[in-house]
Symmetry: C2
Subunit: 297 residues, 2 copies
């Protein structure tokens, strides 16, 4: 089966005239006749009833015409998909993201990306920042929205935004009535934190942040989702240090108190492999620069 021959066949079947079909195909008539004959031999079927004055499809020709049209459509579609992929206009972008970006940054990124390049489809994976670095290295995702700088050697990181930290406290907590607080005042609090195993980098950052003001940070309860952490806070199990974006969640019985310290922020980064070969990824990085480039939030 040969797609070129099928194209020739379809042209003749549509024109019902070898000369015009050859013209349409930008070729001479004799080789076209040859190819049709070869196709007929290959299929061991007569496709056209032809005299020197008339050309008509046989039943076999009718069947092949409909089949061939479908196959050629599919073939064109393959070419289009690959062309879209090459130009970065299509294809699938595999995006890892931290849960805390799932309420604002990630959806906005997706929305804007889709608006600019509608043919691109996304494969979304909820991953911790450290998992994203691993997944990027393993080529399981193409882009990550995470909080680590990544492995500088193999990955690039572009700052999306800086999020001030907030303290999530139960409404009944003494700090709940205050507009803000500082890290140093949190000594002795019962912390609920993001799972250290899943996000060692975030954990380490917080530990170092607290140790800078001589406060110990050792969450007694660890969870892998912010919703769980907030639920535990609302239930009075302790307090949690969370990025600003998490405030989208406003569970009853919970208050957010701003942490005033200048250093009390975490960054959200766009992570990509240095050696990636995807136009889609460059587009993503450009988009981030455009959307969030102005700086802090």
């Amino acid at each position: 089966m040969n797609l070129r021959r099928l194209r020739y066949f379809v042209a003749v079947a549509e024109e019902l005239h070898f000369g015009r079909a050859a013209e349409r195909l930008h070729m001479a008539q004799p080789p076209l006749s040859q190819q049709i004959r070869l196709l007929e031999e290959e299929l061991a079927l007569t496709l056209f009833d032809r005299s020197t004055r008339s050309v008509a499809l046989t039943r076999a020709g009718e069947v092949l015409l409909s089949e061939a049209r479908g196959l050629l459509r599919s073939s064109d579609s393959v070419e289009r998909v690959m062309s879209d992929f090459r130009s970065g206009e299509g294809g699938t972008l595999r995006l890892g993201f931290v849960d805390s970006s799932a309420y604002e940054v990630m959806p906005r990124f997706l929305r804007e990306y889709r608006q600019r390049w509608p043919k691109v489809s996304f494969e979304l994976r909820s991953l911790s920042s450290d998992q994203q670095v691993a997944a990027l290295g393993a080529r399981e995702v193409d882009l990550g929205i995470g909080r680590t700088l990544g492995d500088g050697a193999r990955a690039t990181s572009t700052e999306i935004l800086r999020e001030q930290l907030y303290l999530a406290v139960p409404s009944s907590h003494q700090l709940a009535k205050q507009a803000s607080t500082t890290l140093s005042r949190l000594a002795g609090e019962n912390f609920i934190g993001f799972d250290q195993q899943v996000s060692p980098t975030l954990h380490a950052e917080l530990v170092s942040m607290f140790s800078a003001v001589a406060v110990g940070y050792a969450p007694t309860i660890q969870a892998t989702e912010y919703t769980s952490i907030l639920g535990l806070v609302a239930a009075g199990e302790g307090v949690a240090v969370v990025p600003a974006g998490v405030r989208t969640f406003q569970p009853p019985g919970l208050r957010y108190v701003r942490v005033r310290d200048k250093a009390a922020f975490v960054r959200l980064m766009m992570l990509a492999r240095k050696d990636h070969d995807l136009r889609l990824v460059d587009r993503g990085l450009e988009l981030v620069a455009e959307l969030f480039g102005s700086g802090a939030n």
Copy 2:
């Protein structure tokens, strides 16, 4: 886009090893490498990350793999369809049939045909015998179940069965109580007949049949469907001469009376073009011979 190259690509993508893939493709390794490189150049995309020791799909390769598999499946399907068509195992058989065969002969033919060659699909058209001859000539149908002998020059006709004629009469009619009658006793009856325009041959046959016993046959009402004719008979509008098969219909207020005359029969024929090029048609003719070959009914 070239299907052979895509097959090569899929083989390499599945083996992730040029040597093994080449073996699977019954070719040497170097030309395989060449073709892959040409495919990459054609698409302007790198499909494999390869060193001398390892071969891995790029994202572009993954996309193409899934696309190519689909396209090759479609291509195989086209070949199978055409092969089925050639062997007569598949394809579409366009069958014209007279309404009076729609209750017994046509369904039986279809059922048996489908049982033997399940891949064949049917396109059914309800046509009068004369319309069938025209449709055969115009290559609009491939087979016909009709009552004429057809145009002997261009069409073949195989007798399916002979049907004795019956007289459909209203229950109130004087003949309703008799088991049988003869054509000669029908002088003066008010006939309801099949449309002369639609079925001139059937009409002519009946006229000649009646004239042989010196009875005039000139239906006062003509209809194009037996159900209409029978409805009119049941309503007391007249009597109708119908083939035996029509007795499947037993509308209330109607009786069938056998016409005893030896000549009072019509034949049901299987019609085909003499120059047809369809195995399916031959199969149909053979099937008819097998099913109805024993002779009269």
